[in-house]
């Protein structure tokens, strides 16, 4: 077996050489995860907003349930979706098993609880009277919602980054409902699993490096924004 050093070097060369198959896998991963995130975001913001500003009976129960969902392993979500989407399952007629929409659905379910929990916390950082204040100032409902959302944008950005990091790095569900089909449902993580099982470590390392750089980039972005927001609040 190659040493880790030389394999890593080869991996970097592979990335830089613009290997079509490799970059196609990377692009596919981003497309699937970003779609899932964009679909989940409005719903999650609505839920987070409602939980923060609207107190109703059973409120605590919903928060507890959402926190429970945070801890559900991704393979369990994968198994559930697999059973639902299989042709012999209740949603089999949709023909979604082993497809990108199925993976998007899985990642949607995975990032939703994180986004809800973190946006709930973000909105909670404002006073409960914020909504009433904006409304009595004569702003429309949509404007009020927007203004309040803008006010907590950095916390929401952290939520988005965390959720994106979780779903793009997820392997269990993607493997189960995507099926690791070359060029169609093969993502960074399922490709790493496959290449490792094949003993082709170079491709695995190259893809692993991409995930690592992505995590670094996203966290730098959050750190940068946080820094800015702290400065903004201090004056």
């Amino acid at each position: 077996m190659d040493s880790i050093g030389s394999a890593t070097l080869q991996a970097i060369q592979l990335l830089l050489s613009g290997d079509a198959e490799l970059w196609q896998i990377i692009a596919l991963s981003f497309r699937v995860s970003l779609t899932a995130l964009l679909l989940a975001l409005p719903l999650a913001l609505a839920c987070g907003f409602a939980l923060a500003f609207w107190h109703f009976p059973g409120h605590w129960l919903l928060v507890t349930l959402n926190n429970t969902l945070l801890a559900v392993p991704t393979v369990v979500i994968g198994l559930l979706l697999f059973l639902l989407l299989s042709r012999s399952g209740p949603l089999g007629d949709l023909r979604l098993l082993f497809s990108q929409p199925a993976m998007i659905a899985g990642q949607f379910l995975m990032c939703l609880p994180i986004l809800i929990a973190m946006s709930h916390t973000a909105y909670q950082s404002l006073s409960r009277h914020a909504w009433e204040t904006t409304r009595t100032l004569g702003l429309s409902r949509l404007r009020s919602l927007w203004l309040i959302t803008v006010e907590v944008r950095f916390a929401l950005l952290a939520a988005v980054v965390t959720a994106f990091g979780r779903i793009i790095a997820e392997v269990g569900c993607a493997m189960m409902v995507g099926g690791n089909i070359a060029g169609y449902t093969r993502t960074i993580t399922t490709a790493i699993a496959l290449e490792t099982s094949r003993g082709a470590y170079v491709q695995g390392i190259a893809l692993g490096l991409v995930l690592l750089l992505l995590a670094l980039g996203l966290n730098l972005l959050v750190g940068f924004c946080r820094g800015n927001s702290v400065q903004g609040a201090s004056h």
Binding site: L39, R87, D93, F98, P101, L126, Y184, L194, A233
Partner: protein, 305 residues
């Protein structure tokens, strides 16, 4: 300044001692808040509906789904064959590389259009139960026993595969089993049974992984395992293992291609599956199978006739 950041003490909702006017205002804003949420929910419903509809409801005639074993895919055979077919017929073949057990299950549930597997007994049951139709011999290769390079048990001199397994069993050596209901796993269990041995000895490790990973684990643990020749040849340069025993009728590994029953699952792409099956069994397909080599060694032998 932030107009919304009011002291934490102010967080509790106004409950007691509020004027009637304030209560009315609170009620009003609550009502408006609910309205805002309803509007948002409608938008979301639309979103989800669109999302659900974006998935195609009908089988795409240009896509064939093939469930097959890791041995045909990870060895590179399908990567060698399928582009020819795809180019000729303009059909994309989506390959699900799993164990034979799972491949047959996917066929049974109608999640794929055809299967290529290598477990004769399970395949017979699959066809008899009406899940698959028209099983055809596609190709064969064989299983081999691999283990530590210095061959401490002197298995190269074994009288047969059963004798070799008995030695591993007696000396309680590490034996890595697929343990995943794959064709190779079924074969291995069959061999233990033929040898009259219980596989559950202390150093018998059922790991539930694909062939490639099992070989890697065997190499790391300096153990023994039964592997199909294709994966062995494709991977051996990265392994600290040697081929210790080969040959004999007990180690034959025939592959069949079976169409999923279109009467059970009318929605599948049966036409495309049949096209692919016929092409694999055609002279072109069979010649390509024979022409596939790793390190100048053929991995599979065409067996359509």
């Amino acid at each position: 300044m932030n107009p919304f950041k009011i002291d934490g003490l102010d967080r509790e909702p106004i409950k007691t001692g509020t004027s009637l006017a304030t209560q009315q205002l609170t009620a009003l804003t609550h009502h408006q808040l609910q309205e805002a949420l309803i509007t948002m929910n409608r938008l979301l419903l639309l979103f989800i509906l669109l999302f659900a509809l974006s998935g195609s409801l009908q089988a795409n005639p240009q896509v064939v789904r093939l469930a097959t074993t890791t041995s045909t895919y990870n060895s590179g055979l399908l990567g060698h064959l399928l582009p020819h077919f795809e180019k000729q017929h303009g059909i994309t073949v989506q390959v699900l590389s799993v164990g034979t057990g799972q491949a047959l299950k996917l066929g049974q549930d109608g999640d794929v259009d055809l299967v290529i597997t290598h477990a004769p007994v399970a395949e017979e049951a699959f066809v008899e139960a009406g899940h698959g139709i028209e099983p055809r011999s596609l190709m064969y290769n064989d299983y081999v026993l691999v283990g530590p390079k210095n061959d401490p048990l002197n298995l190269e001199q074994a009288e047969g595969i059963l004798d070799a397994l008995e030695k591993i069993h007696q000396r309680n050596r590490v034996f890595v089993s697929r343990g995943d209901d794959s064709g190779t796993h079924k074969k291995e269990l069959e061999l233990w049974e033929l040898a009259g041995l219980q596989p559950g000895f202390r150093n018998y490790r059922a790991v539930g992984q694909g062939m490639g990973r099992v070989l890697t684990m065997t190499s790391e643990m300096k153990g023994y395992t039964l592997t199909d020749r294709g994966t062995w040849l494709a991977m051996r340069s990265r392994l600290d293992l040697a081929l210790l025993y080969e040959g004999g009728i007990d180690l034959a590994n025939p592959y069949q291609v079976i169409l999923v029953n279109p009467q059970r699952h009318p929605g599948i792409n049966h036409r495309g599956a049949r096209l692919l099956r016929d092409w694999l069994l055609s002279e072109t397909g069979q010649a390509l199978i024979n022409g596939f080599t790793v390190d100048d060694e053929p991995l599979f032998f065409a067996d359509a006739n």
